[in-house]
Amino acid sequence: MTDERRWLDRLCERATRALARRTSRRSFLTRLGTALAGTAALPLLPMARAATESRPPVPDDAALHGEVGDPKSCSYWRHCAIDGFLCSCCGGSQNACPPGTEMSPLTWIGTCRNPGDGKDYIISYNDCCGQSLCMRCRCTRTEGERPLYLTMKNNDLLWCFGTQSRAVNCSVAVVLGVATRT
């Protein structure tokens, strides 16, 4: 028993002294500090975080495949030809008008390609009418737009026709279906 303890003591003593010879207390603190700071800084590195971010719920569009992007951004795929204020920033959504406004039955219709699935979708940009300009998330995109003399293909016009009020508040981007060229 005594011999065994001596053997163990000797082993531990040798290992400790070897460690003490090779390292200093300062070097340990340095490495510990580096590790702590490194761990703390890890989330700052660029990484694909979009997949883990929570997006605003899009219940009406559950049937769409590969829905990607931020519906509150001008660069969102559905907004390829939108001209106006996004209703999703104004108390509504990309499908619904804000409370207190009325959706215009007359609308500018075009197609936008969804990068999520590579398909072209028929998009209806209806103006929501009855309140003054929302002034948030102003977007001007012109894919497929034509000059003013082709009125049905121009999105600079206010499309509050057939509504009680001609005052435009914001615009929605409703998906009507998939466009397939035959």
Binding site: D61, P105, I109, M152, L176
Partner: protein, 128 residues
């Protein structure tokens, strides 16, 4: 408001797609139009074929004559529209529009659209 019919499963193509992108914005998906602003197609467009000049009128109205579609596609949309919104009104024996016919008619757009329409509607009322 819910998205009106997200038809993601089956695609829209041909004259139905051309109608959706070129006409539906004003005439609406069901052809109902907007009273006082945009004339209805449903229950109305087929009746124009019952009176002389009506067939020509449907191509010469500005929205059709100036539509950004070639003659073949425009003829297809017109025939699709008559079938979809005017099936009960189109007289028997009417032949479909052809690209050549559309090509000739759209070169002569109407200058007095409201006047031409009024005359046709009056002629229609006399046939009742």
């Amino acid at each position: 408001m819910l998205a009106p019919g997200v038809a993601a499963a089956q695609g829209t193509s041909g004259p139905a797609l051309d109608y959706a992108v070129t006409c539906q914005g004003c005439h609406r998906a069901d052809g109902a139009g907007t009273p006082g602003t945009v004339p209805a197609l449903a229950g109305s467009v087929g009746k124009f074929l019952r009176v002389p000049g009506g067939r020509e009128f449907l191509v010469r109205v500005p929205g059709v004559a100036q539509a950004p579609l070639d003659d073949t596609a425009l003829a297809a949309v017109l025939n699709w529209m008559l079938d979809r919104f005017g099936r009960d009104d189109v007289p028997k024996g009417v032949v479909p529009y052809t690209a050549e016919e559309v090509n000739q008619l759209r070169r002569r757009p109407l200058t007095d659209v409201a006047g031409a329409r009024r005359q046709l509607v009056e002629a229609l009322e006399r046939t009742k």
